[in-house]
Every structure is written in structure tokens, then in C-alpha cells.
Amino acid sequence: MRSADYVIKRAGFAIATIFVAITLNFFLFRVLPGSAVSSMARVPHATAALRHSLEVQFGLDKPKWQQYVIYLQQLSHGNMGVSFSNQQPVWSNLRTALGNTIPMAALGTALAIFIGTLTGVLSAWRRGTKLDQVSTNAAIAFYAFPTQWLALVLLIYLSGILPSHGMQNDFLVNPTWWEHLKDVMLHMTLPSLTFALTLYGEYTLIVRSAMLETLGEDYVLTARAKGLPQRTIVIRHALRNAMLPTTTLMALSLGYIVAGAILIETVYSWPGIGNAVYEAVQQRDYPMLQGAFLVLTMSVVVFNFVADLLYFKLDPRITE
């Protein structure tokens, strides 16, 4: 069973990676100087007994490996601890944030894929021309611009025209469902546009190189010899095959979109998971930071897994 073997192998790798991330997450925070207790016991007249009772309460008197086992057990029940800053369970904070991030990031990514594919195909088709040079160099430039900087530049020039802060207009009284949607969409424009611009360059370069490779294949030569029109050759013969590596690369980069989300949401105060990370860093809210890292890692691992399966499905030559 070729497919079962493959799926099991990739799933095993995905699970192992999540496990490594969890372990990293546990030990990185345990090497912190001091502990939760040393800051909480920093009250006047704190006795050794108070310290000890706090340590017992948090389970810090137990050996490290036992703490690790408890951590794993709690995590498997979905308990990621309680946020220092708003005293809510970390997981419920993160769930709300994730719900806000996904539509914004999805819109931006869809836009980036569309622009990237279009410019990539055009570049490869018109290889070596002025058009190719302009489009490739623009792609490199947009790729080189720091994400947060691009967001700030858009903010400078467009903040008067489009809403630039948060996710909705708080002064909208009793909006209808339609008004609310319109409001959110307007607020989403700038962050999504930034997403699209920072990502599209990468996609252009990927699509272009994949297209150049397929355009040099023998079957394209055959199609040309048959006298098929250029359009048909490019779209039906070259692009279809070029989408093979492109799809996986794009699916893979979906997971890493989280990194862009941190920077973009910080600039636009979009109340998503990226902004949650930023605020957790600012307030040294370690439980939130730990939880967010896990959620982000898991999303990346899941996207990796999906990309693997997708590639396997698209390319029947894969045998492992």
C-alpha cells in the first residue's frame, strides 16, 4: 500500500515535530532565571513558608521530569494555563484571536497567489524582455522590504482613506449584520493588502522558475510542433505542470504566514494571534507566549502535512 505507507510516515513526522515543539516550549521557559513564585512572593514580609506553599500550589517543588509529565497531561486536556494579563484561560484568548487572524490572512494570501501566479507566468512567458526584468525585480524588491516597514509605509499614505486601526468601528451603534460586515471588510483592507504585497514577490519568483522549467520540457516542444496556439501551450501544457511544485511551495508558505501575521497585526492593531504575541512579549505574559508558540507551530506542522498529502495526490510519481 503505497499511499497508506506515505500518509503514516508523514503523519508520524508531523506528530513528532509537534512533540519536539512542546518539549522545547516546556524547557525554554524552565531555564528562565527565577520562577513564577519568586515574583509573586515579592511582597513585604514574605516568609519562607509562603514561598513554599506557593511552590507547592504551582507544583514547582516537584522534579522537572514530573512537571513535564503534568504539563503534557494538562496540555492534552486543552489546558494551556491562564494569561497573566487578563486572567482568562490562554486557549480561549487564542481561539478568539485565531478566528480574527484567519479571514484576514486568507484574503491576503489569496490575493498574493493570484497576483504572484499572474506575474510569474507573464515573466516566464516573456523571458528576458523588459517586462520580465521589471516584474522580477519588483518581486525581489517586495520580497526584500521588511514586512513591518511596508505596513507602515501603507499606513502613511493610506491611513486617511482606509481605516488603519483595529477590526471594527466601535462607534457604530447597533449596526445591522450587513453594516458590520462592511465595516470589518473595510478594516481588513490594509492588513490584507500588506499581506498580499509582502507575499506576492515570493510567489512570482516560485511560479516563474517552475514555469521556465516546464516551458523547456519536451512535451512543450511537441505542443509547439503541433502548431497549438501560444495561449494553449502556456496555460494548458506548461502552467498545469508548473502548478505541481508551486502548489506545495504555496501550501508550505501558508504555515509561515503566521510570522507575517505577527508583524502586520502589530502595526494595524488587528486583534489576531500575531497581535496577541506582540502584547504577550510587551507584558512578559509567558503563558500566552507559550500557548501562542504552540498554536503557531501546530498550524505550520498541519500545513506542512497538508502540503505533503497534496503533493502526493497531485504527483502520482511519488512512491515513498
Binding site: T17, V31, Y143, F145, P146, I156, T248, Y256, A259, I262
Partner: protein, 320 residues
């Protein structure tokens, strides 16, 4: 974190012969390619400014020379920042620190990645399996969130920043170098050296390293770009050294201190352009070296023109 993920390991291993007259290969690459000349020129310009910073700065970076967010004028061509400090001086000083962080982080990453790649590729066997598994996990775990966690836990300082970035960047290098070493190891001259009883260390340093040197250098140049990109991101999130001026912290301070609502575009735009220029310079140079080393990549349809600042995992060699 693939710099050019389209270069799969087999492809990286397939080519790479150090040109004859090895000592001059670098200048041959520069002489042959216009792109390499531009890249080297841009990089050289910024390095020169960074080296000469203490002497060519027009004003001190703690010295108030005019009004808060004073606009550009003849005396201050890029205006003043939120403390009335000359932006040109800040950019020059910031470039110095940013480049130091970028190069130092890359150096550490090359030592780790190159070391792991050489050991795994040369010795093979279980050591190879273990090291590459570790590398795989690190490839999948999202970079920026991991960096944020480590930086938050360690506390902000330039040294920590360098190590955090290095921690993120070694994985791609390790994979590429391993693939290359694996192929060099099977060459006749290495086998001959082994048969006359040379020690492993001597074979690695005298016979393997010189062969992979150019690839290592191309990889280094591309990694510098990513390191500088990461530096701006981490500084922007407040995880850099609060007392050091870097291009990242210039953008951070402008964002935090209402440069946008003051309409002070000059406090933001030049810093980002500097970052983008350095990154593009690195890209042009690194790519030219790779293309020169690996003529197969230059053949029209095999010519990949992608690189990655935002991380993309290299696929496991077997699954493609």
C-alpha cells in the same frame, strides 16, 4: 528556511565543480556577471559606510540638533527624529550595528550549519540520520515565533540577538552542505587520500572543505540577507537591545513614537530602503556565485530565480 528551495539536494550535489585557478574564482564570477557587480557594489557601499561610521556621521546620535520631527532641510537632508536627532547620522550608525548583527549571526549560523552538514555528510550512518532528523524538526518549527520566545526568555541584548538569529538560520546551510559533502566524499581523490591513510580531519580540511567553499560562501551571502531581515523584525517587536541603534530599532521607535500621525515619513522610509537594498545586494551577489558554480542552473529552463527570506522548508530529499 530555504534560501533557494528549488535547489533540491540532488541538484545541489549534481553540479559544483570549483573552477580551475581556484584562488581567483570569486573575481571571475564578479567579472563575468553584471548582476554580481551591482550586488557587490551595493554591499561594498554599505560596508564602507558602516566601517567609516564614526568619522563620517555628520552629528552625534544622542545630540539634539533641531525640533522634534523636523522636516528634511539642507542641513539635515533626511530630517530629524522624535528626539531632534539627525536621521542621516542615525542611519549611518544603525547600519553599522545592523550589519554587525547580520554578519555575526551569519558567521555563527555557518559554523553550526556547516559543522553539522560536514559531519553528517562525511561520516554518514547513524550520525547522519540523527543530525538530519534534528535539522528537519528545526526546519518545520516556525522561525519568528521561536526567536521571539528565545529572545523573550534570554532578555534583550545584541549578543543574544545574534545567537537567536543564528539559531534560526543554520538549518538550510546544514542540509545543503551535507548534500554536497556526500557527493564530494565519493570522488576519487578523496578515496585516494583515505587509502594513503590521511586522517579524517585532514581530509575534511584539505580536500573536502576547499571543494564546498564557494557554495558555503554563496550560502553565507544569502544568509546575511535573512539575518538582517530577522534583525529588523525582532527589533521591531522590542526584542533587540533597547540602547543600540539599528535599522530595525529606527523603524520601531518611529512606529512607537507617533512618527506616522506627525507625518514624519523621513523617520521610517529611509531605514526600510536601506534594509531592502542590502538584502537585494546580497541576493544578486549570492545568486551570481551559485549560478557560476552550478552551470546546470543557468540553462534556460532550469534557471531558478527564487530565494527565500520568509522561511520555506526544504523538502525532504526522498519525498520529491
Amino acid at each position: 528556511m530555504a534560501i533557494r528551495p528549488d535547489i533540491t539536494e540532488e541538484r545541489a550535489a549534481a553540479a559544483l565543480e570549483v573552477p580551475r585557478g581556484r584562488r581567483n574564482w570569486f573575481w571571475q564570477v564578479i567579472a563575468e556577471s553584471r548582476q554580481a557587480k551591482i550586488g557587490l557594489g551595493v554591499l561594498g557601499f554599505f560596508i564602507l559606510i558602516a566601517v567609516l561610521a564614526p568619522w563620517i556621521k555628520p552629528y552625534g546620535i544622542h545630540q539634539q540638533v533641531g525640533p522634534v520631527y523636523g522636516p528634511p532641510s539642507l542641513k539635515h537632508p533626511l530630517g530629524l527624529d522624535d528626539g531632534g536627532i539627525d536621521m542621516v547620522s542615525l542611519l549611518i550608525q544603525g547600519g553599522r550595528i545592523s550589519l554587525v548583527v547580520g554578519f555575526a549571526a551569519t558567521f555563527v549560523a555557518m559554523i553550526i550549519g556547516g559543522g553539522i552538514g560536514i559531519v553528517a555528510g562525511y561520516f554518514g550512518g547513524w550520525l547522519d540520520v540523527v543530525l538530519m532528523r534534528i535539522t528537519d524538526y528545526f526546519l518545520v518549527i516556525p522561525d519568528l515565533p521561536l526567536a521571539i520566545i528565545v529572545a523573550a526568555v534570554w532578555g534583550a541584548s545584541l549578543t543574544h540577538l545574534i545567537f537567536v538569529i543564528a539559531l534560526l538560520l543554520w538549518t538550510t546551510t546544514a542540509r545543503i552542505i551535507r548534500a554536497q559533502v556526500k557527493s564530494v566524499r565519493e570522488r576519487v581523490y578523496v578515496k585516494r587520500a583515505r587509502s594513503i591513510g590521511l586522517s579524517d580531519a585532514r581530509i575534511i580540511f584539505r580536500h573536502v572543505l576547499p571543494q564546498i567553499g564557494p557554495l558555503l560562501i554563496a550560502n553565507t551571502v544569502l544568509t546575511v540577507a535573512i539575518a538582517i531581515f530577522d534583525e529588523t523584525a525582532l527589533s521591531f517587536l522590542g526584542l533587540g537591545d533597547p540602547s543600540a541603534t539599528t535599522w530595525g530599532s529606527i523603524i520601531e521607535f518611529a512606529f512607537l513614537r507617533t512618527a506616522i500621525s506627525s507625518g514624519a515619513w523621513w523617520a521610517i522610509i529611509p531605514a526600510g530602503l536601506c534594509v531592502a537594498l542590502v538584502i537585494m545586494g546580497c541576493y544578486w551577489l549570492g545568486q551570481s556565485i551559485e549560478d557560476a558554480l552550478n552551470p546546470r542552473l543557468k540553462v534556460s529552463y532550469l534557471s531558478p530565480r527564487t530565494f527565500h527570506i520568509r522561511p520555506l522548508a526544504i523538502r525532504e530529499s526522498g519525498s520529491r
